[in-house]
């Protein structure tokens, strides 16, 4: 499958030549991924082991899933700062329902997904019908979600959830970690939505020229509602994995994850102003970020310095990306 433009058209048919590959918007993220992988492989003998690679992918899955919703939102020209806090809130509430309220675990997880979707839709209503800037709306809901989680739990992790839930966090299907399977499935659904449905085209249209989209009859407000809803839902899905991994509801989890998610989207070649980008790019961006984290850890670099290095690499990548076009 090739793409003639980053705006999500299905590609012209034809052979997959190197020239075409280099012109694809995915080329740069891919090259970045390869370069960083090679560097990490050189720096650490353990990097290119199957175990480590699966491990990296498993670690990537939470931010990777948050970044899916973030991609939808950013493509419309918006932003969602609330993803990390919503994830923590959903995880905390689900665990609380199971442990303190006697709700069956499966039902608690399902309710958690609904809560995530609901918060996302609330963001959407405020942005689309309230006509408020997305950055402000989601900054506010980020604070509220974080605060509510802390109030509900008194600031302490809620543990004692049924042990089968750990399957979502650390289970395996064959050798593949369950979170990786879930992440890939979510990306597949997102790809179909963006590339093969009218809704997907309208998402891109909104980021490209909202005014023109509106005047030609696109229901712009509903599209906005939907993308924030999707973002809330993917935050809740990420919460399921996180809960399974930590075997508890952690009100303080996911601080700063919204920034990692945004970084993954942008490293994947999506324009921060919207209208251009591919969901596969986001997957590459998320993995790239994960490899950096993993590699820097393997090398035993001071965590504070790691942040500095990561920031510098993101700046560099985006600079190269701009010069490339």
């Amino acid at each position: 499958m090739s793409h003639d433009a980053s705006t999500g058209a299905a590609g012209k048919t034809g052979g997959l030549t190197l020239g075409r590959l280099l012109q694809s918007p995915l080329a740069l993220p891919l090259i970045g991924l390869i370069v960083v992988s090679i560097l990490m492989g050189l720096a650490s003998d353990n990097f290119f082991t199957l175990n480590n690679i699966l491990n990296v992918l498993r670690q990537v899955s939470v931010v990777g899933i948050l970044a899916v919703g973030m991609t939808f939102v950013i493509l419309t020209g918006g932003i969602d700062l609330s993803v990390g806090a919503v994830m923590a809130l959903v995880g905390t509430l689900s665990a609380g329902m199971m442990v303190n309220m006697g709700v069956p675990a499966a039902a608690a997880l399902a309710l958690g997904l609904l809560i995530g979707l609901g918060i996302g839709l609330a963001n959407g209503v405020l942005v689309a019908w309230g006509r408020m800037p997305a950055i402000i709306v989601t900054l506010a809901t980020m604070g509220m979600a974080r605060g509510l989680g802390l109030i509900y739990s008194g600031g302490y992790p809620i543990s004692g959830i049924p042990s089968w839930i750990s399957w979502f966090g650390v289970g395996r299907i064959g050798i593949i970690p369950v979170p990786v399977v879930i992440m890939v499935a979510i990306y597949a659904v997102a790809w179909v939505l963006l590339q093969r449905t009218a809704f997907g085209r309208h998402v891109y249209a909104l980021g490209g020229n909202e005014n023109a989209a509106r005047l030609s009859g696109v229901k712009t407000q509903r599209v906005k509602l939907a993308v924030y809803g999707i973002s809330g839902l993917t935050s809740a899905l990420a919460a399921v994995i996180l809960t399974g991994r930590l075997m508890s509801g952690q009100p303080n989890a996911g601080v700063g994850f919204e920034l990692d998610a945004i970084a993954a989207v942008v490293l994947g070649g999506t324009a921060i102003a919207g209208g251009r980008g591919l969901i596969l790019g986001t997957l590459i961006g998320a993995v790239l970020l994960g490899i950096l984290n993993n590699g820097l850890n393997l090398m035993g670099i001071n965590p504070y310095l790691q942040d500095v290095i990561k920031g510098a690499i993101i700046l560099l990548a985006i600079y190269i990306g701009r010069e490339w076009r």
């Binding site: 093969r196 085209r201 989209a213």
Partner: protein, 500 residues
């Protein structure tokens, strides 16, 4: 004074200018002519340093010059009015005109007064009354056009390029512009003028240069050619540029849209009109007369005080273009770049943007094959010149971009199309084609409201004409009364009905 020699330009592998020469003398108005996509705008952007030629020379007063960017060209005395606007929407007219060339006082602070004075002076020269201190996005397209022109004039350029400045102006405004151009010509300024209105060429230009598909066809004095010869040079064949015959609408024709009452502003005039099945209803009037505002208000896409309308006999109220679309009413807005196109989309994506109902597969998915086939047909119908359906629309020439928006709506099965300046920037050959398609649409039972500032177009195409003035409808004319004098009289002196 100015010579371009053997200019070639390629975008990627595709060459769009194949060695073009242009020779412009001081104190002349030089017409640059050619079909949509011939390479006129590209050549002018090369002259202004905005894009770099692949090959060729630019000579000014005999000396070879290279412009790395637009600033260097300005410094060399070149000014340009772009075909696509380059104004910053949130700044006002004065701020736009002096952007990056602000007048400062002794303390390095902006000297707003001096800039305002200079801007007002230029506007007076142009004999137009454009509000100087509202953000330009609130101005009409024609007013924005004048801000663009004023911006170029404020540079005191010796070589002035006007890329389709008259596309959005009404005849009287064009006259003002021509007056200024004649004045500049007297002062020895060389003017390059691009337009698809051939009568303007004969009125104002001294010499012409014709391009066809990026090839240099020839240069000569205007007096050496006539209209037919010009068209032949541009298109390479003769064109019967007639409007399709008007077919009498069977009466009594059913009324599709009945606007019983429409008031834009509190205390403003109230308009009433009817659109009948199978007719083209022209909206004529000066710029700012309220034609665009009226249709936007009808669809719930613009401010409105009061609106009562019936669609096929039932009371209706549209809260936005999406609801109008669902009811079978499509709008082609006046500004293709700001309101019509998603410029980062391909032609295909723009054509099908609001029409996915047509290509569904398993209910949820887009049938890509059908979509591609339909786009190809639509492109061929209006003759879009492009590399293919996957070309991004921002790589198309202005006229071809306009054709894409038209293709979008002709590809739809709507009962009503509202076309706001549909042929803006479209060349003579393609125009005839589009007129024929519009007629075909009404023959099949569709109805069209056509807003146009081109009087010949209004007269040639409309079955009835509504004339607007100062925000309201002043008269509806039909039959023999559809001629320029009657329409212009209503447009300039018509009485508007006011209701509190």
């Amino acid at each position: 004074m100015l010579e371009l020699k053997g200019i070639r330009k390629s975008f990627g592998k595709i060459e769009v200018l194949h060695g073009v020469d242009l020779d412009v003398r001081a104190g002349e108005v030089h017409a640059l002519l050619g079909e949509n996509g011939a390479g006129k705008s590209t050549l002018m952007k090369i002259l202004c340093g905005i894009i770099q030629p692949s090959e060729g020379k630019i000579l000014i007063n005999g000396a070879e010059r290279h412009f790395a960017d637009y600033d260097q060209a300005i410094a060399a005395g070149i000014g340009i009015v772009f075909q696509e606007f380059s104004l910053i929407p949130w700044l006002d007219a004065v701020e736009n005109m002096f952007l990056a060339r602000e007048i400062r006082n002794r303390f390095g602070m902006l000297n707003r007064k001096a800039m305002h004075r200079r801007a007002a002076e230029i506007m007076r020269q142009l004999a137009v009354d454009v509000p100087l201190d509202v953000p330009v996005h609130r101005l009409s397209v024609a007013e924005q056009q004048f801000v663009e022109i004023a911006k170029a004039l404020s540079l005191n350029a010796r070589i002035l390029v006007l890329d389709e400045p008259t596309a959005t102006l009404t005849p009287s405004e064009v006259e003002h512009l021509f007056k200024v151009m004649r004045e500049l010509r007297k002062q020895g300024v060389a003017i390059i003028f691009i337009s698809h209105h051939l009568e303007e060429i004969f009125e104002i230009c001294d010499r012409i240069t014709v391009l066809r598909d990026g090839e240099f066809v020839g240069s000569c004095a205007v007096s050496e050619v006539d209209n037919d010869r010009l068209v032949e040079m541009m298109v390479g064949r003769r064109i019967e540029n007639n409007f399709p015959a008007k077919v009498p609408v069977p009466s009594p024709a059913p009324v599709v849209i009945d606007v019983e009452e429409l008031q834009l502003k509190k205390g403003g005039p109230v308009s009433r009109f009817q659109l009948r099945k199978g007719e083209i209803l022209g909206f004529a009037g000066l710029v700012g007369s309220g034609r665009t505002e009226t249709v936007l208000a009808m669809l719930g896409a613009g401010p409105v005080q009061r609106c009562r309308l019936r669609l096929n006999g039932t009371q209706k109220r549209f809260r936005g273009p999406d609801e109008a679309l669902a009811a079978g009413i499509g709008l082609l807005p006046e500004s293709r770049k700001e309101q019509g196109l998603i410029t980062s989309f391909s032609i295909l994506q723009n054509v099908s943007l609001n029409n996915y109902g047509k290509y569904r597969k398993n209910h949820w998915f887009i049938d890509l094959k059908k979509e591609l086939a339909a786009t190809r047909t639509a492109m061929a119908q209006v003759r879009v010149k492009a590399q293919g359906p996957h070309a991004r629309v921002d790589t198309l020439s202005g006229g071809n971009q306009q054709k894409v928006v038209i293709a979008r709506w002709l590809n739809h099965d709507m009962q009503v199309l509202i076309f706001d300046e549909p042929t803006r920037g479209i060349d003579v050959g393609a125009k005839a084609e589009i007129y024929a398609l519009m007629r075909e649409f009404t023959q099949k039972g569709g109805s069209i409201i056509m807003i146009s500032s081109e009087l010949p177009e209004v007269i040639g195409m409309s079955d009835r004409v509504c004339v607007f003035r100062s925000g309201g409808l002043v008269a509806t004319v039909e039959g023999d009364q559809i001629e320029s004098e009657t329409i212009m009289t209503h447009a300039t002196t018509g009485r508007v009905e006011h209701v509190a």
